[in-house]
């Protein structure tokens, strides 16, 4: 079947099997391999991206269900090569090690900050509780999100500070 959606601002159309998962559509059909896959059971969150502004586990969605929708992945976060505030926060606070959970974490953190620009530690922990990280013990991820909340303009602000 033919599926058309907008991904990071560009309209894409592909002919795919109806059963194809969105995560495979994004990775294998579009070559956007920043979105990862890490479990069979919708537990890990490494596949998190945005569909119509909602953070979604793309292993739990069929590509066909995203037809006509607006999808955003980690590849679309940096603008003109510059890291956004959340990415910069992860860099500053060492919020990543192997980097495998990172795209999903970033998409979840961005989603949180859109709704709550100044979340406290408990709110952050709850928001990322559907995203597993085996490397960092979460502490620096929490700090990274706090950094982003405190520096909404990202690195620019850090330079002027």
């Amino acid at each position: 079947m033919q599926v058309t959606m907008t991904v990071n601002g560009d309209e894409v159309t592909r002919d795919v099997e109806p059963r194809m998962l969105l995560v495979h559509f994004i990775r294998d059909e579009l070559g956007l391999t920043g979105t990862h896959w890490g479990c069979d059971t919708s537990n890990c969150g490494t596949c998190t991206l945005w569909v119509d502004g909602e953070a979604v586990k793309s292993c739990t969605v069929l590509a066909a269900m995203a037809g006509g929708r607006d999808v955003h992945t980690v590849e679309g976060v940096a603008q003109n090569g510059e890291l956004d505030a959340v990415q910069q926060g992860f860099l500053e606070e060492h919020g990543l090690q192997c980097g495998f959970c990172t795209p999903g974490m970033i998409m979840t953190a961005k989603w949180l900050l859109e709704r709550d620009p100044d979340p406290d530690e408990g709110t952050i922990r709850e928001a990322i509780s559907g995203n597993l990280c085996r490397c960092t013990g979460y502490e620096n991820i929490v700090r990274a999100v706090r950094w982003a909340a405190e520096h909404p303009a990202g690195a620019d602000e850090e330079v002027s500070a």
């Binding site: 537990n43 940096a78 192997c98 980097g99 085996r134 490397c135 960092t136 979460y138």
Partner: protein, 799 residues
């Protein structure tokens, strides 16, 4: 070596040790990392493995005809196909063999039976359903304690003359001396405990993309490996391929923790698939496959006995271990040490009587054994001794901190030879414990706990509070060639450093990052030694065609071994740069002094040459002394003289709901001493991750089996990893005791917290409940049962 003396580069990075952003983050943050599953080659096909539903069964027949008829299937490979190629069995890292695809029997649930190669991943999976395997189920050995019963089915009847399920008996220490000491001791406490089977479960599962070029005969394999060079040699030995025609590329790795040390059947199948089809073949396991078939960890049933005087002077420790190795002995560790470094179990205390006996058995479970950041079983050893010390404290009615402080090795005893033969390099243990107690506010915590207990006993609250300690000593950086090899390969690591004419550099490593940040840390080592800004240093790793030989990253060995190689190679370059600088300055090398990347004439500081100027001169027409070659580069192979011994003191504070058995880790204080910290930010991150592992193992993670041998931990719905909600905000501290024999004084840290933390959590929970023993994971059900005095066997199905 203090960070305050370190100058800063134009980009604001320390030229040497100190906190700096990681170089690798630029790609990871943008989703531009390249993990194995991100590799796509022209014409690439996809493989999938058919696995056994039974723990133990004879294969009567395999019918692949329907799968072969599938329009998108290119090949179906079975054990029979592999037998023809001599590849049905492969060697494990412990001198055993393991079946690649089963020919005679399946020996654990999830065992590899057939491999399908198809046009895409969906078709490959579809075709698995079309394979018809006729099994004759056999009784399974599930309980390790029954593996040696006379009527137990023999699992490894493929091995000549094999009549039981015993793998080995191994002992260390002095049994006789131990017996004497125990006979005369005032107090002896004996305790049985289980360190259950757990799984490293990195977020990226295992996989490979194999591409055999039929013209050149060269095999390139992109694969999830922590040890690319060791894998290449093993492929050469297993598959009979010439080693120079094999290139192993380990691109970005999504976490390893020991899960990616061994060679798995899937990797071999992807190679065979590529040979058979003439196309590149990708195989990526799913999460169930990862949890059910790849390297598990622990599974040690231990009975410890500790002897002491009645005033709490520890006199001896002995332990009997029953080790469940699964269906094949697939443990990765130095050959001489079948139980890894378990005999470091005497821990951080001063006594001379020690003995351990380890008996390993086959069961119908997945193979593996040394994984999950365990430092070759130091994890089990530390858990044992730290639980035993708490049992003794309980018996004596002594505060566990006081008991530890009384028995810790004293700084003047180093270097210290343990009763089982390890030589600890350096340490100031009391200082670390005091620092942890200070950070924790130990006395106030004890006062709060007493008040909580009073309130509980008065019926005012259901919430109990516990304080748990753990003090660990690890032996890492394996290891000296004279003692240590894996399958005959000595555990030294190579390193190559080249300074380009403009003074930029490239360093090539044999070790492989899985998230440890080698691209940053190793650049900082070179920067420290040569004064070249870290941003000017490229770190190359993970490609056997482009890096020197070495055994890879596990057992916290990167900085202790490869880091030392990086320092040595830098110093060789520095020595040569001195000769070249002297030639350029027309003086004797002895007249030169070094400071921050520059040689200058003693007493004339303005007259000098920077390392960048020297690099250019070394490539130019400057006349060099007799016997000195042009260019500025060097190689080194580092053979560590001894292991390094990081240590630390941990304190965990838990709240336990006596009504539900629910445990909450309220605080965790970790004081680590790993010597000087090259990048303190990265070191702290390593510790955080290990602490989360400890909380996970202590409270949540276990792979248990039902009586038929069905794996009960085969998904993230059953095998629970800690999330942000179970982890507290870690509180870290440090002391610094350099290693006297490492060129940089550093000791390694990757596994410290995983090794040290589980005992602290368990001790805290038991301290809250005032119960002497309960086994991990302390789930609400387990805690509840322990409170009722009827503990569960956590390795078997919960009845």
């Amino acid at each position: 070596m203090t960070t305050t003396e370190v100058p800063t580069s134009a980009e604001g990075n320390p030229i040497g040790f100190g906190r700096m952003h990681r170089k690798e983050d630029a790609r990871f943050l943008r989703g531009q990392g390249t993990y194995v599953d991100d590799v796509t080659l022209p014409g690439m096909l996809h493989g999938a493995i058919l696995r056994s539903p039974f723990a133990h069964a004879r294969i009567v027949n395999i019918d692949t005809s329907a799968a072969e008829a599938h329009p998108r299937v290119r090949a179906v490979i079975t054990g029979e196909t592999l037998e023809g190629l001599g590849l049905a069995w492969m060697p494990t890292l412990s001198q055993d063999t393991q079946s690649v695809l089963a020919t005679d029997k399946v020996r654990f649930q999830g065992a590899e039976v057939a491999f399908v190669v198809a046009d895409d991943r969906y078709a490959a999976r579809d075709a698995l359903e079309l394979i018809d395997v006729d099994y004759e189920p056999l009784d399974a050995v599930v309980d390790a304690k029954k593996a040696l019963d006379p009527d137990a089915p023999v699992i490894r009847d493929d091995l000549e003359g094999r009549e039981d399920n015993k793998i080995y008996d191994w002992e260390a220490g002095d049994a006789e001396h131990c017996a004497e000491v125990f006979d005369q001791a005032d107090v002896v406490v004996t305790q049985e405990m289980l360190y259950p089977r757990v799984h490293p479960a990195p977020m990226e599962t295992c996989g490979s993309v194999a591409s055999m070029d039929p013209v050149s005969g060269k095999l390139t394999i992109w694969t999830t490996t922590q040890a690319p060079h060791a894998h290449r040699t093993l492929y050469a030995l297993v598959a009979g391929l010439p080693e120079h025609k094999i290139q192993v590329i380990s691109p970005d790795i999504g976490g390893g923790f020991g899960n990616k040390v061994g060679i798995y059947p899937g990797y071999v199948c992807s190679i065979v698939g590529s040979i058979v089809t003439g196309k590149p073949v990708k195989w990526m396991e799913d999460r169930a496959e990862n949890l059910m078939s790849t390297s598990f960890a622990r599974d040690y049933h231990m009975t410890g006995s500790i002897a002491a005087t009645k005033d709490g002077t520890i006199q001896g420790l002995k332990v009997d271990v029953l080790a469940d190795h699964g269906a094949f002995n697939g443990v990765a560790q130095p050959t001489k040490f079948p139980a890894g470094f378990f005999h470091i179990f005497t821990g951080s205390y001063d006594y001379d009587a020690a003995h351990c006996n380890v008996r390993a058995v086959y069961t119908n479970k997945a193979p593996g054994g040394v994984a999950y950041a365990c430092s070759f079983r130091v994890t089990e050893a530390v858990y044992l001794v730290e639980r035993m010390v708490d049992c003794l404290a309980d018996e004596l009615g002594m505060d566990p901190a006081e008991l530890r402080m009384k028995n810790l090795l004293r700084p003047e005893q180093f270097p210290y030879t343990t009763p089982t033969g390890w030589e600890y390099d350096s340490g100031d243990y009391p200082r670390a414990l005091k620092e942890a107690m200070r950070l924790a506010g130990y006395d106030e915590l004890r006062a709060e706990q007493a008040e909580r207990r009073r309130a509980f006993e008065a019926g005012e609250t259901n919430q109990l509070m516990g304080i748990g300690l753990s003090f660990f000593t690890e032996g890492v950086g394996a290891g000296p060639r004279k003692h240590m090899d894996i399958l005959g390969l000595g555990m030294a690591d190579g390193c190559e450093l080249r300074i380009h004419p403009t003074g930029k550099a490239v360093i090539r490593l044999s070790v492989q990052s899985q998230g440890q940040g080698h691209e940053t840390t190793f650049a900082q080592i070179v920067a420290q030694e040569l004064g070249i800004p870290p941003e000017d240093i490229d770190v190359v790793h993970g490609d056997t065609d482009n890096t020197p030989f070495g055994l890879g990253t596990y057992g916290s060995r990167s900085t202790p071994v490869s880091g030392a190689a990086a320092a040595v190679v830098s110093r060789r370059v520095k020595d040569k740069s001195r000769i070249i600088a002297a030639a350029a300055l027309e003086c004797s090398p002895d007249d030169l002094e070094w400071e921050h990347g520059r040689w200058f004439v003693k007493g004339d500081p303005d007259n000098g040459k920077t390392i960048q100027e020297i690099a250019f001169a070394s490539h130019g027409n400057l006349e060099l002394p007799e016997g000195v070659e042009g260019h500025l580069d060097a190689t080194a192979v580092y053979d560590p003289p001894e292991l390094t011994y990081p240590f630390g003191a941990y304190i965990c504070v838990t709240d336990v709901d006596a009504g539900t058995g629910e445990v909450k880790v309220r605080r965790f204080i970790a004081v680590d001493d790993c010597g000087p910290r090259i990048n303190p930010m990265i070191v702290e991150g390593q510790i955080h991750g290990g602490l989360a592992d400890g909380v996970g193992m202590a409270l949540m993670e276990v792979i248990a089996f039902d009586p038929e041998g069905n794996n009960l931990g085969g998904s993230f719905m059953d095998y629970l990893l800690p999330t942000s909600m179970e982890c507290p905000s870690w509180e870290t501290g440090e002391t610094v005791t350099p290693s006297p024999h490492h060129p940089l004084g550093v000791k390694g840290v990757g596994e410290s917290a995983t090794v040290g933390s589980p005992a602290a959590v368990v001790n805290a929970v038991l301290d809250a409940l005032q119960i002497r023993s309960a086994d991990m994971p302390l789930t609400p059900a387990v805690v509840w049962r322990a409170m009722q005095g009827s503990p569960l066997r956590n390795d078997l199905a919960i009845e």
